[in-house]
C-alpha cells in the first residue's frame, strides 16, 4: 500500500484520496499547502460583505434570524457562532440530538447557548429509534457504522429547519472531507451540497432505501423514525435560494488556534483524560459512539482517528512525520473496550455478530486472513524512510506551536505526563 510521503494517510481512504504520482504527496496535504497561497484578508472581506448582504435580505423579509448554524457544541460550533456574532449576524442554532452525548459534550453545548445568547432548536432522537437505526446500520453491509443515523441527521435536519423557518443562509464550519481527504479545492467557494451528504455522510444510502430494506423492516424502522432524514425537495430549496457556506473558505482553518481562542473567550472545555483512540483532547468529544465507529473503520481500512489527527498536525508543521507515526502506532489499533461493551449491551448484539458483518467488507489491500486470523498487510511503520519523505518534509514550527509542548497539554494528550497533575494549566473541573 502507498502512504503519503508528507503525512501518514494510506491510499485506501474514503473519499478517495489522490496521491500525486510525481511528489508522493496526498491531495489533503496539497489542500493545506494551497491555504498558504490564498489571500485570506480578501476572503475575509468577502465574508464581511456577504454578511452585510444577508443582514439586509433578512431585514427586508422581516426575519428574526439571519443565519442558521448547525451545532454539536464542540470547538468548531463555538468558533462558528462566535464568528457569526463578530460579523453582527443574528444566528439561530440548530442541534441534532442523537442521544449518544458525552457529559462534557452536553456541558459544552449548554455553555455555547449560555455564552452566545443565541436560541437553539433541536430534534431529540428517541432512544428506541436510536437503537433500531444503530442496530440496523452496524450490521448493514453498505454502512457498518452505529453512528450512521446521526451523521445523516447532522447533514439533513438543519436543511429541514432552514426550509421550515425560511432562513436562506447556513454557516458550516470546515469542509471536513476536503481537510482530511482533499475532496475539493479552495479555488472555488465550497457550498453545502446534497451529493456530499448522500455519497459520503450517508454512504450512498438515501433515506427511502432504508424504508425499503428488508433488514430495516425487521428492525421495525418506520417512516416516523426517519422523519429528520428526508431531504427537502429541490423546489423547496430552490424557492428559498438556500445557500450553505463553509467558514473554512474564509479563514485559514486552524483547530488548535481556534480551540485556544474559544477556551479563552467562551470557556470551551476539552476532554481531560487519555482517550482510547486518539491523542487529541478537543476533537470529537461531544459523543461517545465515535470510538466504536472509528474502531470499525480501523477493522475495515486499517487506519483510524489517530491517523486523521496526526495528519492534521503534520500538515500544519506542528508535528514531525515520525511523531505522527508513533501516535498512529500507539492509538490506531486500540479497541475501545468500555464504549464497545456499552454499545453492544445497548444494541443487544455480541461482538461476534458485529465482526461477522464487518469481516467480508474488509479492504483486501489492508487486511488478509490467514490461519492465524486477520493480518494487517501494511502499516505506516513500514514507510518511515520511504524515498521522498525528506523532500516532502515541511518546515517545523517551534515553541508553543508544537503539538506536544507543555502549553498545549489541555488540547493533546502527550502520552507521558510531563508534570504533576496539580500543576496542569487552567481550571479543569469548572462544572
Amino acid at each position: 500500500m502507498k502512504f503519503c510521503k508528507r503525512c501518514v494517510t494510506p491510499e485506501n481512504t474514503r473519499p478517495i484520496l489522490k496521491i500525486n504520482p510525481e511528489t508522493g504527496i496526498c491531495a489533503a496535504c496539497e489542500y493545506q499547502e494551497a491555504k498558504g497561497r490564498i489571500d485570506w484578508s480578501a476572503r475575509w472581506q468577502e465574508l464581511v460583505d456577504l454578511a452585510e448582504e444577508v443582514k439586509a435580505r433578512a431585514k427586508e423579509r422581516g426575519a428574526a434570524f439571519d443565519v442558521l448554524i448547525p451545532v454539536s457544541g464542540g470547538k468548531d460550533s463555538h468558533f462558528q457562532v462566535w464568528t457569526a456574532l463578530q460579523l453582527g449576524l443574528k444566528p439561530l442554532l440548530c442541534w441534532f440530538n442523537h442521544g449518544y452525548n458525552s457529559v462534557i459534550g452536553l456541558r459544552n453545548l449548554r455553555n455555547l447557548v449560555k455564552k452566545s445568547g443565541c436560541p437553539l432548536v433541536h430534534y431529540d432522537t428517541p432512544s428506541a429509534t436510536a437503537r433500531k437505526l444503530s442496530r440496523w446500520a452496524i450490521l448493514y453491509p453498505r454502512i457498518l457504522d452505529p453512528t450512521f443515523f446521526y451523521h445523516s441527521g447532522i447533514m439533513t435536519y438543519p436543511i429541514r429547519v432552514a426550509v421550515e423557518k425560511k432562513i436562506p443562509f447556513m454557516l458550516w464550519g470546515e469542509e471536513g472531507f476536503s481537510e482530511s481527504c482533499g475532496l475539493l479545492t479552495l479555488q472555488y467557494r465550497q457550498e453545502f451540497t446534497r451529493w456530499k451528504r448522500t455519497e459520503f455522510s450517508m454512504r450512498g444510502v438515501d433515506t427511502l432505501e432504508i424504508l425499503e430494506d428488508e433488514a430495516a423492516q425487521r428492525e421495525g424502522i418506520t417512516r416516523e423514525d426517519l422523519t429528520p432524514y428526508f431531504y427537502p425537495s429541490d423546489d423547496e430549496i430552490g424557492s428559498l435560494d438556500l445557500q450553505g457556506l463553509y467558514l473554512g473558505n474564509f479563514t485559514p482553518w486552524d483547530a488548535l488556534a481556534q480551540t485556544r481562542l474559544m477556551v479563552k473567550e467562551w470557556d470551551f472545555m476539552p476532554y481531560d483524560q487519555q482517550r482510547e483512540r486518539t491523542f487529541s483532547l478537543a476533537a470529537k468529544v461531544d459523543d461517545h459512539a465515535n470510538p466504536v465507529h472509528e474502531w470499525i473503520r480501523y477493522l475495515r481500512w486499517g487506519y483510524g482517528r489517530a491517523t486523521d489527527d496526526a495528519c492534521t498536525e503534520i500538515r500544519l508543521g506542528r508535528m514531525s512525520r515520525e511523531e505522527g507515526i508513533s501516535m498512529v502506532t500507539l492509538y490506531d489499533h486500540q479497541k475501545p473496550v468500555a464504549n464497545l461493551q456499552y454499545y453492544l449491551d445497548f444494541l443487544g448484539l455480541t461482538e461476534e455478530q458485529v465482526l461477522e458483518a464487518v469481516d467480508p467488507k474488509r479492504d483486501p489491500r489492508a487486511w488478509q486472513k490467514d490461519e492465524y486470523g486477520w493480518r494487517l498487510m501494511d502499516h505506516v511503520l513500514n514507510h518511515v524512510d520511504d524515498e521522498g519523505v525528506e523532500a516532502a518534509r515541511l518546515p517545523q514550527k517551534e515553541g508553543t506551536e508544537r503539538t506536544f509542548h507543555p502549553a498545549n497539554a489541555r488540547y493533546y494528550w502527550g502520552g507521558i505526563p510531563k508534570f504533576p497533575a496539580q500543576l496542569m494549566p487552567g481550571p479543569l473541573w469548572t462544572l
Binding site: A27, L184, T185, T193, D234, G238
Partner: protein
C-alpha cells in the same frame, strides 16, 4: 439563431471523477460517475462530455464501466472522449450509447482514422478536442507539442465541432481565454465549445460573447447545489440565448 448550449464535463481518471488543474489531476471528487451526474443536475444540461484523461490505458475497463453507468442515467446526448485513436474504439463507444466522440491526439497522429470515423458516423458526431498552451497545439494529455495553433485549425477543419481548451486557463478559476476563442471562431466555420477556467457564471457569458457556440465547465460544477440549473438561470437572466 441557434440557442447556445451549456455542457458539463465529467473528467474521469481510471473510472473516478477527478478535478483537473492545468491538466494536473489533483483530487478525486465523487464516489461514482453516476453520483456526479446526479449532483450536477444534468437534466438541465444540453449535452454531457465525458473525458477519460487517465495517463495510460491500463485501466480503460474502469472507464467503460463508468461510461455505461452514465449512459443509463443521462437524459441528454453524451460525448465520449479520451484514448479514441481508431475507428474500432469509436465503434465501441458509439455502441455503448455515445452520441458523439471527441478526438484529440488522433488529429495529429492518426488523421486517417479520424476521417474514417467521420465517414462512418458523419462529421456531426466527431468533436475535435484542441488543447492550446501559449499559442502551441498540445496533444497527448497536454504532454507533447504537435505544432502551432494554425496547424490545429488546419487539422480539425473537417470535424463537426471543436472543444477548445487553453491549458494555462484550465483549472485556474480565472475564466476562459477569450482571445483564443475569438481566434478560432474567426478561422473556423464550425461550432466552438469553450472549456477550461470557469468559476463564475460570468465567465460563461464572456465565452459566449467571444464567439463560442457552447460553454462547458467541469470543476466548478461540483461545488454548489444544482449547478447546471443555476448557471442556466443566471445566463438567461443576463439575456444570453440559452434554452
Amino acid at each position: 439563431m441557434l440557442a447556445k448550449r451549456i455542457i458539463p464535463v465529467l473528467i474521469l481518471e481510471n473510472g473516478n471523477v477527478v478535478e483537473s488543474h492545468g491538466f494536473r489531476l489533483t483530487n478525486a471528487v465523487h464516489t461514482s460517475a453516476a453520483g456526479a451526474l446526479r449532483a450536477m443536475s444534468t437534466d438541465d444540461a444540453d449535452e454531457i462530455i465525458v473525458l477519460d484523461v487517465s495517463r495510460d490505458r491500463s485501466q480503460r475497463d474502469a472507464f467503460y464501466v463508468a461510461f455505461d453507468a452514465i449512459g443509463n442515467l443521462a437524459r441528454c446526448p453524451i460525448t465520449a472522449g479520451g484514448w479514441i485513436d481508431s475507428l474500432a474504439e469509436a465503434d465501441r463507444l458509439f455502441s455503448m450509447g455515445a452520441d458523439k466522440v471527441t478526438v484529440n491526439t488522433a488529429c495529429k497522429d492518426n488523421p486517417r482514422e479520424v476521417r474514417r470515423i467521420i465517414r462512418k458516423y458523419g462529421k456531426q458526431a466527431v468533436v475535435a478536442s484542441v488543447d492550446i498552451r501559449r499559442g502551441l497545439w498540445m496533444v497527448d494529455r497536454g504532454r507533447r507539442v504537435a505544432g502551432h495553433m494554425a496547424d490545429a485549425i488546419e487539422a480539425v477543419k473537417d470535424c463537426g465541432e471543436v472543444l477548445l481548451t487553453d491549458i494555462d486557463h484550465e483549472g485556474t478559476a480565472l475564466g476562459y481565454n477569450p482571445w483564443l476563442i475569438e481566434a478560432f471562431a474567426e478561422e473556423l466555420p464550425i461550432p466552438i465549445i469553450a472549456f477550461g477556467g470557469v468559476s463564475h457564471w460570468d465567465h460563461m457569458l464572456e465565452g459566449l460573447n467571444a464567439g463560442a457556440s457552447a460553454v462547458s465547465a467541469a470543476n466548478c460544477l461540483h461545488y454548489s447545489e444544482g449547478s447546471v440549473r443555476s448557471a442556466r438561470a443566471w445566463l438567461k437572466g443576463k439575456g444570453a440565448w440559452v434554452r
